[in-house]
Each structure stands twice: as structure tokens, then as C-alpha cells.
């Protein structure tokens, strides 16, 4: 049983390392204009020897684009998730630890954000701040924050009732210290696992935002943008969706497999 889990984790780590490597090394080794170079004679070419993964509607090489897109996509996803954690963590922590009216007020706020359509949020950010990568990150980060805050609150609530928290209080530890030293480390695994799952959603969220003009601005490549661009040509050039889709799928798979292992790594019991 356990061995199975290790293999799974190993696959996850290998996958993620590979993807991270591609994201970092890719832009260094492939020619700088390879991902935007257009071949008007080979538009929507299915995979061939010259274009291993085919080309898109402007005759750009899908392989190069998917490699260059890795970096943008991961950058956006990681930054957005980090942002939502940075915002959601204090919110959820304080809410879950103190409970009572603090919890009530904060959770009403979170409910409001949850019920507020992400689309309206994205449109406002795009219109007011302008469409670019930073603002895409803000849009995704803000949209994810209430979900994270809710999950963190739940975890913090559980941990706050543990005897070791009471023990810390009995030994004169201040609330701030209890949150930092006792609650935070104990909810971290759940936060990190949730964050890995959110990463997958963030990559796809960018695809949705590209439809509204937010997201990576062309001709730069990102998986989300590529998937979005495939929308009108799925029936004639399915590879334009499948190539970035597979990249996302592999990343998500890797993240999930890795997530399980990460939980174990974070657990001091495994040390």
C-alpha cells in the first residue's frame, strides 16, 4: 500500500521537475522568436516532422509555444495562488482561531466575495487596471481568496480546539504566538495541498480570462491563451487544444500526485 504511494509520488515529482525544467530552461535554449514565428504556408498543420506538435492558425509551432507557454502559465498560476494564500491565510487563521463575532464578520465578507461573480470581477479589473499579466494574477488571486480563506478557517477552527493549543495558552503563550507557532504549522499541510489543487484551476482560469481580453497578451504564449485560441478551430485542428490541454493535464496530474507526497514530507512523522 505504502510502496504504491511512493511510486505515485515519484512519478509526480519527476513530472513536476520535468515541467519546471522546461519552463526554466526552455526559454534559454530555443530561439527567441521561435514561438511567434509564423509560417503562412503551414497554418493549422497537423503534427509533421517539421512541426512535431503541429501549428496553430497563424502557422506558429505548437511545440515551441507550449514550451514557452509553460513559463508564463506557471508564473501566473503560482503568483496568483501565492497571492490568494497571502490574503486568505490571515483572514482564515484569525477567523478560525478567534471564532465568535470576528469569525462572523469575516465570514460574511467571504460569503459576499464568494457570491460575487468572478466574471464581473475580471471585467472590472481588466477595464480599470488594464489587460496584462500582473492584473491577470490579481484577478485570479482575488477570486481564489475567499475559497482559500474558507478552507483555512475550517482547519484553524479544528486546530484551535486541540489540547496543545490549550496547553500553550495555559503556559502563558499569547494569542499571536499561538497562531504563529501552533496553529499555522498545523494547518500548513492542508493549505499547501489546497494550494497545489488551486494551481491547476489557476492555469485554466487564465484561459477563461483570455476570452475577455485579460490574461497573457498575444503573441506571447501561455497554455491558457493557447487553449482559448483553439476554441474556434477544435473541429478542424484538434491538436491546438490537445497540446496545451495535455500540458495542463500532466501538470495537474503531477501536482496531485506530488500533493499527496508533500503532505507526507511536511508531516514530521515521516522525518
Amino acid at each position: 500500500m505504502k510502496r504504491f504511494k511512493t511510486t505515485k509520488g515519484l512519478i509526480g515529482i519527476v513530472l513536476l521537475t520535468l515541467i519546471a525544467l522546461i519552463a526554466i530552461v526552455g526559454p534559454m535554449v530555443i530561439p527567441p522568436d521561435a514561438a511567434t514565428k509564423m509560417d503562412m504556408l503551414a497554418r493549422r498543420s497537423p503534427p509533421t516532422w517539421t512541426h512535431l506538435l503541429g501549428t496553430d492558425q497563424l502557422g506558429r509551432d505548437m511545440l515551441y509555444r507550449v514550451i514557452l507557454g509553460a513559463r508564463t502559465s506557471l508564473e501566473i498560476a503560482v503568483s496568483a495562488v501565492v497571492m490568494s494564500v497571502v490574503l486568505g491565510l490571515p483572514l482564515g487563521l484569525v477567523s478560525g482561531y478567534f471564532g465568535g463575532w470576528v469569525d462572523n464578520v469575516l465570514m460574511r465578507l467571504v460569503d459576499t466575495l464568494l457570491a460575487f461573480p468572478a466574471l464581473l470581477l475580471a471585467l472590472s479589473i481588466s477595464a480599470v487596471l488594464g489587460p496584462n499579466v500582473q492584473n491577470t494574477i490579481i484577478a485570479i488571486g482575488v477570486a481564489f481568496t475567499p475559497y482559500l480563506a474558507r478552507i483555512i478557517r475550517g482547519e484553524a477552527l479544528k486546530v484551535a480546539q486541540m489540547p496543545y493549543v490549550e496547553a500553550a495558552r495555559a503556559s502563558g503563550t499569547t494569542d499571536g504566538m499561538i497562531m504563529m507557532r501552533h496553529v499555522l504549522p498545523n494547518i500548513m499541510p492542508a493549505v499547501i495541498v489546497q494550494a497545489t489543487i488551486s494551481l491547476a484551476f489557476a492555469i485554466l482560469a487564465e484561459a477563461g480570462l483570455s476570452f475577455l481580453g485579460l490574461g497573457t497578451q498575444p503573441p506571447a504564449a501561455s497554455w491558457g491563451l493557447m487553449i482559448q485560441a483553439s476554441r474556434d478551430q477544435l473541429d478542424v485542428a484538434p491538436w491546438t487544444a490537445l497540446v496545451p490541454g495535455a500540458a495542463v493535464a500532466l501538470t495537474v496530474l503531477g501536482l496531485n500526485m506530488f500533493g499527496d507526497v508533500l503532505r507526507d514530507i511536511l508531516d514530521p512523522k515521516s522525518k
Binding site: F4, K5, T112, L114, A115, F116, Q228, G245
Partner: protein, 313 residues
């Protein structure tokens, strides 16, 4: 009963906050519906005239007051782009969306629960991997991808379902379900992933509990133990998660309804937003938020029916 009232009170409070936020955000958005109506025919005087006739020049406080007042008195105003009473539009589109929301949730649960149970029973074995990989694949590609795949497979190649459109359930109920099926299926696949995971983890927890061992010790077959004893306990948490997914679902239907020309609440919201039709934006956002929160309330009440331990205090 007091519990329900209590929850309703918090729903009302949140809805009030939502009216404030929505109103603020929609007014920050640059551009207005007059500009959208005139498009590239607009010149400053023409725009001003149209704004005047649409009542866009009233002070903000007055607009907000009128809106909230209207919400309470049942006068929801008129859509500026469709020139139809908003209440009438909402009534029609809400029914359409209700059909795909219910249908997609049904599809998702029908697929996710067995898959999740199967994975939990064979935890950490190949069945588990198959189940989680399948559900992960579902979330690795966006909704519209699955939507188009559905159109191509079931409408174009197999010809089993119409590729797009919508039928009023009052005219032809079965027909309306036929039109709703493909968008629901595509939405259901997206929802499935999360529900499968939740079913699996809930079931895993329950299968490790003492009463399961007791049931086995009674000599009950494994099928009874898993599908009756364990599942009866898992269904509550799973339904709760499903309820929370309703919010996510209302985000997804925007894309899916536009894709399938299945014009429900999601499509209406999208049109309102794109055209800066403020009264319609405010109404749709408000209604969706209300539906999401009331659904969650209903799910919690349903939980009470499912789980005898939970009492309304």
C-alpha cells in the same frame, strides 16, 4: 425553525452587502450602455441625449436607492438593451438555467459517487489511480473544450442531440430536456472531478470507522456494508459539497450557455456585463447570489433529513 430564520437573516445581510459591492463595481466600470447602443455611431451630443433618456445621469445614491427600493417592491426595472422588463427576462431565463443546473448536478453525482466509492474501496490500488486520473482529466481542460467535444460527438457525428438552442419546458418538456442535455453533460463532467475526490475521501474515512467493522462482524455482505452502511453516511457530506459547487456552477454556465446558444441566466448575465446594462447586471448578480445562498441553506436543511444527528437548534 429559528435556525432557518437565523440563516435567512445572514443570507439577507450578505445579499445586502452584495447589492452594495455590485453597485459600486458596476459604476466603476468605464463606459456605459448608451455608448454600447450607439457604438461607433456615437458622438458626444448623441450620447448625452441617449443617457438622459435612459436615466443614466441621476445621482448615484438615487440610482442605488431606486434599485434597492425596486428590488423590495418587486419593480426590477427594464433592461436597457433588450427593452424588456427585467423580472420577465429573469423568470424565463431562470427556468432554463434551473434545468441545466439540476441536470448537470444529477449527472455529476450519478457519475462521481460510484467512481468515488469504487476508489475508496480500492484505496491506493490501480482502481484508485484510474478514478482520480479520470476525474483529473476532466478538470485539465476548460469547460468549453468539453462543450465543443459534446457538440461534435453527439450532435455532428452521432446526431443524437441538437447542437444548440433551447426549448421552453412549458411548450415541450421532453424537448427542453433534450436541448439541455449536452450543456449539462459538459458541465457535469467538470463538476465530477471534485465530487469524486470528496466522495472518495469521505468514504475512506467512513470505511475506517468502527460501525463498519461491526457491520462486517454481523456477517453483512461487503456490498451491503459499502453501499448501504457506509454510503448512507457519506451522502450528507457529499451533498454539502455539491451544494457548495452550485456557486461554481453558476460561473461555468456563463460559458456553457453561450456556447450552446442555451440562453439562460448565465448568458443573460454575460450579455448584461458586456453591454454595461447596469440594471440587468445588478439584477442577475443579485439573483444568482441569492440562489446560491438559498441553495446552500436548503442543502443544510436537507442534511438534517439525511443525518439524524444534526438538529436545528
Amino acid at each position: 425553525m429559528t435556525y432557518v430564520l437565523n440563516r435567512l437573516l445572514s443570507v439577507i445581510l450578505t445579499l445586502f452587502l452584495i447589492t452594495l459591492v455590485t453597485f459600486a463595481v458596476t459604476n466603476i466600470l468605464p463606459g456605459d450602455v448608451a455608448m454600447m447602443i450607439m457604438g461607433t455611431q456615437s458622438n458626444p451630443e448623441a450620447l448625452e441625449g441617449l443617457r438622459q433618456s435612459l436615466g443614466l445621469n441621476d445621482p448615484l445614491i438615487m440610482q442605488y436607492g431606486n434599485w434597492v427600493g425596486g428590488l423590495l417592491t418587486g419593480d426590477w426595472g427594464t433592461s436597457l438593451i433588450f427593452k424588456k422588463p427585467i423580472a420577465e427576462l429573469l423568470a424565463q431565463k431562470a427556468v432554463a438555467s434551473a434545468i441545466i443546473v439540476v441536470m448537470s448536478m444529477t449527472i455529476a453525482l450519478t457519475l462521481a459517487v460510484p467512481l468515488g466509492v469504487w476508489a475508496a474501496v480500492h484505496r491506493d490500488r490501480w482502481q484508485d489511480t484510474v478514478s482520480s486520473s479520470t476525474s483529473l482529466l476532466g478538470v485539465s481542460l476548460p469547460d468549453f473544450f468539453w462543450g465543443i467535444v459534446m457538440i461534435l460527438v453527439f450532435a455532428r457525428w452521432l446526431g443524437w442531440f441538437p447542437s444548440s438552442g433551447i426549448v421552453e419546458p412549458s411548450e415541450d418538456f421532453l424537448g427542453s430536456l433534450r436541448y439541455a442535455f449536452l450543456p449539462s453533460l459538459a458541465l457535469g463532467l467538470g463538476l465530477m472531478a471534485h465530487l469524486t475526490r470528496m466522495t472518495r475521501s469521505t468514504m475512506t474515512g467512513i470505511l475506517g470507522q468502527e460501525f463498519i467493522r461491526v457491520a462486517r462482524a454481523k456477517g453483512l455482505t461487503e456490498r451491503t456494508v459499502v453501499w448501504r452502511y457506509a454510503l448512507a453516511n457519506a451522502i450528507g457530506p457529499v451533498i454539502t459539497i455539491a451544494g457548495l459547487q452550485i456557486g461554481y456552477l453558476f460561473g461555468s454556465i456563463i460559458v456553457m450557455e453561450s456556447l450552446f446558444g442555451y440562453t439562460g441566466m448565465g448568458w443573460l448575465t454575460y450579455q448584461a456585463l458586456l453591454n454595461r446594462d447596469l440594471p440587468l447586471i445588478q439584477a442577475t448578480v443579485f439573483v444568482i447570489a441569492a440562489v446560491v445562498m438559498i441553495t446552500n441553506l436548503l442543502v443544510d436543511l436537507l442534511y438534517v433529513l439525511i443525518d439524524p444527528r444534526v438538529k436545528l437548534g
